[in-house]
């Protein structure tokens, strides 16, 4: 397969680009932030996402979906990154849908997924428990209780956690933290007894939550995948998240760079556009190179998820590590090259920098993924 978008994928991109630029540019995020919106995202925009076919992107047409793949999902994430659009698209349309589709519980899927496609069901993935991403370290306890399980523990950095209807919770049903055996995924009602959700407004004005579970009772049929053997499913879902965030960071980095490039051509000092100075030209050319190379890695990761899902781990780690590093470089250069005005809240580049920092951290930073690649390659 050629490592470029197909014509159909370019159409999805163009549609998403026009739609988001019109309905949810950076000013949209600013407004939600400045009005201290209780949801932190726009429900009417989410309805429009559904009408565009974005919510049910991955679902088969029989469940009300568009039957598309991860490349298309990544293309939309790129546009979300370009516009810094806060949206449950990642947590619901990509992560939630992937978990349920790969589990393949047809009765549950028939009930839930059509609602997901129409934008009437929000999901959130609850994995991290400590300040750095370490899924195998999951300690939240799942103890057998009656016909099901009782869940006790804490989760943090749960994207869209405070607006979700259902959580997908990674829990330890056996073994010890650090082991990949003994993990189970559960689908948990966000309003279940014993759940305490605290919204955490993050530096980027996007949504996240801390959730505490105190003996939350769930039935055996709340299990997604297999009891004690949830690791491959969890890794699969996380790989989707990593590649999707990498795509978002790619769009974000490119937009920050495009704005910087525009400024280099327009801003004059010493009687010349500052972009005529070689000191800045070389940095801009280097940044361009980093972004282009990252883009290739991200597309490769998305294509691999579509074509060879179970073997995507190494290329996904390459993509996420690259995307985190190059978006970071892009926003740092954006602020520096804009000079004083780059430090103001009024200019958007600061918002790009904040979101890049969050995206870098989400589902493993560049160091996490370099380490993961080394482990996969036995050194």
């Amino acid at each position: 397969m050629a490592l470029i978008l197909t014509e159909e994928q370019m159409m999805v991109r163009d549609n998403a680009r026009a739609f988001l630029a019109d309905k949810a540019p950076v000013a949209h995020l600013r407004k939600l932030r400045d009005t201290r919106d209780a949801d932190g995202f726009s429900r009417s925009l989410w309805k429009a996402f559904a009408e565009m076919g974005f919510c049910g992107l991955l679902l088969p047409e029989s469940l009300g979906g568009s039957g598309l793949g991860y490349v298309e999902g990544g293309v939309i994430m790129e546009e979300i990154g370009r516009n810094l659009t806060p949206s449950p698209f990642l947590s619901t349309a990509l992560l939630g849908a992937t978990a349920l589709l790969r589990d393949g519980n047809s009765a549950r899927n028939k009930e839930l997924l059509p609602k997901l496609a129409t934008g009437d069901l929000l999901l959130a993935l609850a994995v991290d428990e400590r300040t750095k991403h370490a899924p195998s370290a999951t300690a939240l306890k799942a103890e057998r209780s009656g016909n099901g399980f009782a869940l006790t523990g804490e989760k943090c950095f749960v994207a869209d956690g405070h607006v979700a209807d259902l959580f997908i919770v990674a829990a330890r049903s056996a073994g010890a933290p650090g082991e990949t055996d003994g993990l189970t995924l559960f689908l948990v009602d966000a309003k279940a007894k014993g759940i305490d959700t605290e919204r955490a407004v993050m530096v980027d004005a996007h949504n996240a939550a801390r959730i505490r579970l105190d003996r939350v009772e769930v039935d055996a049929d709340a299990v997604i995948g297999e009891v004690d053997r949830g690791w491959p499913l969890l890794e699969g879902v996380l790989n989707v998240g990593r590649a999707a965030v990498a795509a978002e960071l790619t769009g974000l980095g490119e937009e920050a760079f495009a704005r910087t490039l525009g400024y280099l051509k327009q801003r004059r000092q010493f009687g010349e556009p500052i972009g005529s100075f070689q000191a800045l030209q070389h940095r801009a050319a280097h940044l361009f190179t980093e972004l282009e190379i990252t883009q290739a890695a991200v597309l490769k990761a998305l294509q691999t998820l579509d074509g060879d899902f179970d073997r995507a781990a190494p290329v996904v780690s390459v993509a996420k590590a690259r995307a985190g590093a190059s978006a970071t470089l892009a926003v740092q250069e954006a602020v520096q090259m804009h000079g004083g005005i780059g430090m103001t809240d009024e200019l958007d580049v600061g918002l790009f920098m904040k979101r890049a920092r969050v995206g870098q951290e989400l589902f493993g930073d560049a160091g996490f993924h370099a380490d993961r690649l080394a482990r996969l390659h036995n050194y």
Partner: protein
Amino acid sequence: MADLEKFRNETRAWLAANCPPDMRLPFADEGDRYWGGRNAAFKSEGQRLWFERMAARGWTVPEWPKEYGGGGLSREEARVLRGEMRRLGCRSPLDSFGIWMLGPALLRYGSEAQKREYLPQIARGEIRWCQGYSEPNAGSDLASLATRAEDRGDHFLVNGRKIWTSYADKADWIFCLVRTDPAASKHLGISFILFDMRTPGVSTKPILLVSGNSPFCETFFDDVRVPKGQVVGELNKGWEVAKYLLTHEREMISGIGLGTGRPLGQVAADALGSEAGILADTCLRADIARFEVDSAAFQFALERTGDLLKAKQANPAISSMLKYYGAELNKRRHELLMTAGGSDALEWESERSRGGDAARGWLRTKANSIEGGTSEVQLNVIAKRILELPGA
């Protein structure tokens, strides 16, 4: 698609039957490569057989048209061939500046007579070419070159001096940039000419490098007579040919960014040992892992650029980006190899170091970001041609 699968199966079977066992081993050193030319000698019977079998199919230049000695393969078929060769570990049957640089320029700018004359010779490895570009006072500012070719009626008389001419002392012919109109502005008076290195007045002098090797020469032209039919493209428009060829040279050099041989992590693990599967030197491990991330991404970028070019979605100056990154990556790779090798890698003349392979290889890579246009020149090209920054 079905045809491509058929081609893959046939190619796989043919390679398995025709690639001699010793041609499936990685190159032990640079001397194992076959460069062809009038004075070439095969190092082994396997090398001869492998070269001749590949050349007979036109597979030394798989994508060139058959009428010029190529294999006539489509881009997809050539990719399959390369993939199958990699799979089996097949060595390149013929390395040649004729294949990598001059050939593409001739295919685009050469006259029909030139194509029929030179391309089959390149494909069959009969002529070894060298590149006469840089001069002592024309390095990064290549277009300021001063080697002159005066019109003497039926021939040009060439006088001047080139430097960093790779393997000029081993080459049979040279493709050379010369000034044919001293009055024109610097880019407009240059022509691209070909001539035999045996022509009276041509001499070469190898330059000893920090690696202790002499892959580059100084090349002198003293009243060298060159027939007029040996200009490629239009007279005084050689800069266009030169630039086109440079994009191929840059692609060639960027390929080194892929590296060859065993993965760095394994090399380091063998040298330093591991504890519970984790490399004993954790700082080096982190550096290698970050390198591996960038190296894998670069491989995808090469693949993507090829696909973008084919779909006519790429800026031609993109080769500068690949050359810049590939060169820096290869330098990084060799720094890490030296760190992993420790004092062993510093042995210059000893039995186990095979004559200082590691250190000489490391030193050689320092030229990667100079040859074919420095990294800084590549960044200039990106700034000007792709980013369209003012005054670049």
